[in-house]
């Protein structure tokens, strides 16, 4: 004769569907329903809260449909990254507003608030430029610079670490001291120093980011090499008379490359944030070309109390991308077992 709690009798899909509906209503109301003016912050809170509820609903529905073991957060992250990546790739082909040329937007209403149902779903900035187009264009900068920099860091740093870790000796010590030196500069300071003298193009920043990431990759690859060198298969290859080159590239490399790449995944979001910080200071890719950092800086400059969307749109995209990358990186690092 037990009295069941009311919650236990509700089918689990309802527990997902109800918040899903509520969240959707909140997001739509937040972006469109409430008129502008004093209700600005209410709209912001409503939209963000709605998005949060939607996400919870997604988790609940996923648990109901796919079982609790299904990594819902991971797939949400992958989907988001796919959207950003594909969006950045095909942005020029999409029917979006103008991203960077303010002389073409004289007929567009500036400072439109985000409204998912309209022509400018994420709103426009002070020059009537489409924020959605700008966010995707900015994604190109962020992705090129961070992925390019990390790739250079892994390839150059990994190779140096692998070779010096195998050969040891005085070269190894010298490389270590040089690597320690680069690590002695806070990354942002080093980038500021570079930006103060070099031309501020994507190429400069790819190279600078790559340079910045070489030492840490040297350390990582060197440490892993030292560990692998002691294994039996290396010893047996050596005693079979394999050349040093063969040992380094055929025996050591396959064992060192995996941890380096998985660490590289952690570095990508870090670099995205660093690039944004640099652009925010006005020392990244110069406007009018949009990047997430200089969009945020622009939003801060122009009356942001009345138009918080100028900061919040690129800000939220930035945060979500970094969160998603961290989530994916963590799962891959734990060999697919990361879901908490």
């Amino acid at each position: 004769m037990t009295v069941a709690t009311p919650l236990a009798e509700v089918p689990s899909w309802v527990r997902g569907a109800v918040p899903a509906a509520a969240g959707l209503v909140a997001v739509v109301a937040g972006t469109a329903g409430l008129s502008s003016g004093g209700a600005m912050w209410l709209r912001v809170v409503l939209t963000l809260a709605g998005a949060g509820v939607l996400y919870r609903a997604y988790r609940a529905l996923a648990a109901w449909a796919k079982g609790p073991e299904w990594p819902a957060a991971y797939w949400a992250a992958v989907t988001w990254l796919g959207l950003i990546g594909v969006g950045a790739l095909v942005a020029p082909l999409l029917p979006l507003g103008e991203a960077s040329n303010a002389s073409r937007t004289l007929d567009v209403v500036p400072l439109l608030r985000p409204d998912l149902g309209r022509t400018f779903p994420l709103g426009t900035n002070a020059y009537g430029l489409d924020l959605l187009a700008r966010v995707l264009e900015g994604a190109r900068v962020s992705l090129v610079v961070s992925l390019g920099g990390v790739a250079i860091g892994i390839v150059v740093g990994g190779t140096i670490g692998l070779v010096t870790g195998y050969l040891r000796g005085p070269v190894d010590s010298a490389v270590r001291v040089v690597a320690d030196t680069v690590l002695a500069f806070p990354p942002l300071i080093l980038l500021l120093a570079v930006a103060s003298v070099a031309p501020r193009t994507s190429l400069t920043f790819v190279l600078a980011f790559g340079f910045l990431l070489v030492p840490i990759n040297i350390r990582l690859a060197r440490g892993n090499t030292l560990a692998v060198v002691q294994r039996e298969f290396v010893l047996s290859a050596e005693s079979l008379g394999a050349s040093p080159r063969r040992i380094v590239f055929r025996e050591l490399l396959p064992n060192v490359v995996l941890p380096s790449v998985s660490y590289g995944l952690v570095l990508v979001p870090l670099m995205i944030v660093t690039e944004a910080a640099l652009s925010f200071l006005g020392l990244g890719i110069p406007p009018p070309r949009p990047s997430w950092g200089n969009m945020i800086a622009e939003g801060r400059a122009g009356a942001s109390v009345d138009n918080p969307h100028l900061v919040l749109v690129p800000g939220c995209v930035l945060i979500l991308t970094v969160l998603a990358l961290n989530r994916v990186a963590e799962r891959l690092r734990h060999g697919g077992l990361g879901e908490r």
Partner: protein
């Protein structure tokens, strides 16, 4: 190189210091074309270019120029800024340093004050409400760039609710004294602390969980010690080494890492100085600031290394 670990460490330290100062000196050579033209702009009288060339040590062979520059730097002469009034770089650096150091120290203290109790509670009740909330918060906080957090803080607390003074800075030594100083430092401190809190929390939490699963803890519990005495008296100390290392690393890095927050709140610290100098192409000022920050970092790392060996007998024995 000497066999003794301390001697070897010192030699390495010296090498890193020399190399980093050399890298700083070589900064001017990164400029495309003639650095003096890039710095001063075109169409100046030839004497100005020559003078600057001499000042930057570019009119001599690289090593000689570097030796001169370094000699001056060791004697406390970092050259003169190219900005209006041509102030001494040393004076500018010394004016900015206390602000940056205060911000770094306060942020570090705040982050520890929040992270340590939260980590203790989370480790005592793993997967509980507090643990899940704090873990989620640390994730979010890692993914939020410091400048964005700072920006939202400004939007809310300064512009919308006007709870805090608008930006700028009041020195402790000024007439308005320490209260005004703290009021101005509060928001930047929170913004910086948010970025270092996750590391502290996660490291201490996982080390505590590790320690709590060991036999001596089970023994202490079996003897009937209260959970809190086990946690604070038995588990905390052996779990503290990683977080101490992390604090040390952060101490060195914070002055540099807080650049963006400093710039956003327009605090007159080293970060703002370097960012502005970089924007206006004031290379000597950038060089001076970068050099000081790099030296600070290297020295504080060395101090932490030593302190670590002193704290943990195992490290001492392994090295001896």
């Amino acid at each position: 190189m000497g066999r003794h670990p301390v001697v070897r460490r010192l030699v390495e330290l010296l090498a890193v210091l020399l190399l980093s100062s050399f890298a700083t000196f070589m900064l001017t050579s990164l400029t495309p074309g003639d650095p003096t033209v890039a710095i001063l702009g075109k169409d100046r009288p030839q004497e100005q270019y020559d003078e600057l060339r001499h000042e930057l040590g570019l009119d001599r062979p690289v090593l000689e120029g570097y030796a001169n520059w370094l000699g001056d730097a060791v004697h406390g002469d970092l050259g003169t800024s190219l900005g209006p009034g041509r102030p001494e770089v040393v004076d500018r650096v010394l004016a900015g340093l206390p602000v940056s150091l205060q911000l770094a120290a306060m942020a570090l203290a705040l982050a520890l004050l929040v992270a340590v109790p939260l980590a203790l509670w989370s480790a005592a009740h793993p997967a509980g409400r507090v643990d899940r909330a704090a873990t989620a918060a640390s994730y979010a906080s890692i993914s939020t760039p410091p400048f964005l957090a700072a920006l939202v803080l400004v939007l809310l607390f300064v512009q919308t609710w006007e709870l805090f003074p608008r930006l700028e800075w009041v020195r402790i030594t000024s007439d308005e004294g320490i209260v005004e100083n703290l009021r101005h430092a509060a928001l930047p401190t929170v913004a910086v602390a948010m970025t270092i809190f996750p590391g502290f929390f996660r490291v201490l939490r996982s080390d505590l969980l590790d320690t709590l699963s060991q036999d001596f803890i089970a023994a202490a519990r079996a003897r009937g010690r209260s959970p809190w005495r086990v946690l604070l008296g038995d588990a905390l100390r052996p779990s503290a080494f990683s977080i101490i290392t992390l604090v040390g690393v952060q101490m060195g890095q914070l002055v540099g890492a807080a650049v963006v927050v400093e710039a956003l709140f327009t605090l007159p610290g080293l970060g703002t100085m370097i960012a502005r100098a970089a924007l206006s192409g004031d290379v000597p000022l950038v060089q001076g600031g970068v050099l000081v920050i790099a030296v600070l970092y290297v020295l504080s790392n060395a101090v932490v290394d030593t302190a670590y060996a002193w704290l943990d007998p195992r490290v001492r024995r392994a090295r001896a």
